[in-house]
Subunit: 233 residues, 2 copies
DNA sequence: GTACGTTCACTTGGCAACAAGATACATTGT
DNA sequence: ACAATGTATCTTGTTGCCAAGTGAACGTAC
């Protein structure tokens, strides 16, 4: 066990140092096992963990190779600027696609924060954020039909939630205190964000309120791939 | 590979549900392999990953058992209250011990943020935060000797940095924009925080400034175990 | 009856041999 | 000469067997 961890630590440090950058090929399991005087099984376990972490990939008959290193995006978490505006400022080739708009079953926490009864309809709108075609965040907005009656029909075609709200008379927005959590992705989230199961996600949960009336417009859950972001608060 | 992931997902969900709470013993590798109709090796890999994640532990000859579930601590990240005050408010059996006070070699980023030249002495003071005797965060303060000449001698005995600063004429503190990162622990951090290598850590980096003069008093790096905290910003 | 030792059934841990994919190179047939 | 095919030797992936630790059941000596 401790031998595997030593190997993993060493390899991650080498990868980050760029030691394998020339051809990006890692030493074969047999060679590394001889070098470190450990059974091949230990090297295999280390390589497998590096795969799960997204550092390398292995191909039977060929070898193991380091994954392309990832971009690091500084992300301003606070403030009331929209995600799109934040990204445009940074000149990243940025894109958003709406991937679902569907009614959600009753959920104590969400319904309460939206201040609606359990017989009301609440929709969740999922918008996937991509940079360079790579999915890097999933933005889920929970919206009550009582506030936006046409949300079911409009949902799939909204390009900017903020714009949508503005067009309906809500001019200035704020967000109350956000909660942060570090989570591992569910199978569904893994598929959407195209990451392995050991990539930690930063989950930010907050509410968007209309500054004028104080009304909660949406309950928001955003999950960011933590391997792409540095957060600034 | 995908079989392992399915198993890991399933087991984590069962553990969180408390399905094994009665005796906390997981099914033996052989039994689980039969149930899911997969080779025992797959179960072994899944169990090993759960060990690395800190969910379970295995004992040769006995079996595999779920780890005690962890407390969840709501943590206010913003504001200028000290960590100690935050914890006392929440009535956790809280404790801090200073574990190191040593000079650090030149580091561009740190020295620049402290506004000192590369021939000046800078000390890092490490304070371990414990709740119920469990290490849950490591608070590292980088302090320049030019500002606090006695820091090398005083360092090991400082109970509260804020108090130390106040006693030296700095009355009101603020912090500039903090950066957040999700990282995995280094070997050293694993030993200090007594966690396995797949426990994500939240790293918060900021500066403590004297509101009066605007002078940077310390460069701060705090790492929190993400499995113990929910962060509020 | 009791204390002690043995066996046995079950657990996780480890390993060596084998399977299977990839590639370079030699061999062979035309 | 050239193309197709076999072959040797790399690579990673899989499997099955045995080692080692544990504890309960059992047997036996006293």
């Amino acid at each position: 066990m401790t031998e595997k961890v030593v190997l993993v630590d060493h390899l991650i440090s080498e990868i980050k140092k760029g030691a394998f950058q020339s051809n990006k090929k890692l030493p074969s399991e047999h060679v590394l096992a001889d070098q470190f005087k450990v059974p091949r099984m230990v090297v295999r376990k280390a390589y497998e963990q590096l795969q799960d972490l997204g550092y390398i990939y292995s191909k039977q008959g060929k070898g193991s190779y380091v994954q392309d290193s990832k971009i690091q995006i500084p992300l301003i978490l606070s403030g009331d600027v929209s995600f799109t505006e934040k990204m445009k400022e940074l000149h990243f080739p940025f894109q958003t696609i709406t991937i679902f708009c569907e009614e959600v079953p009753f959920d104590q926490k969400i319904f309460q924060s939206l201040n609606v009864g359990n017989d009301e309809k609440v929709f969740k709108i999922g918008r996937l954020r991509l940079i360079d075609e790579l999915p890097i965040a999933l933005h889920t907005s929970f919206v009550a039909q009582t506030i936006f009656p046409e949300i079911e029909k409009d949902g799939p075609n909204i390009s900017s939630m903020f714009l949508y709200y503005k067009q309906r008379g809500f001019l200035e927005f704020g967000s109350n205190s956000s909660t942060l959590n570090v989570i591992f992705p569910t199978p569904n989230e893994r598929e959407i964000l195209q990451c392995s199961n050991l990539v930690p996600l930063l989950q930010v949960e907050s509410e968007c309120v209309d500054k004028n009336s104080g009304q909660v417009l949406e309950h928001t859950v955003i999950i960011y791939r933590s391997d792409y972001f540095t957060y600034v608060i």
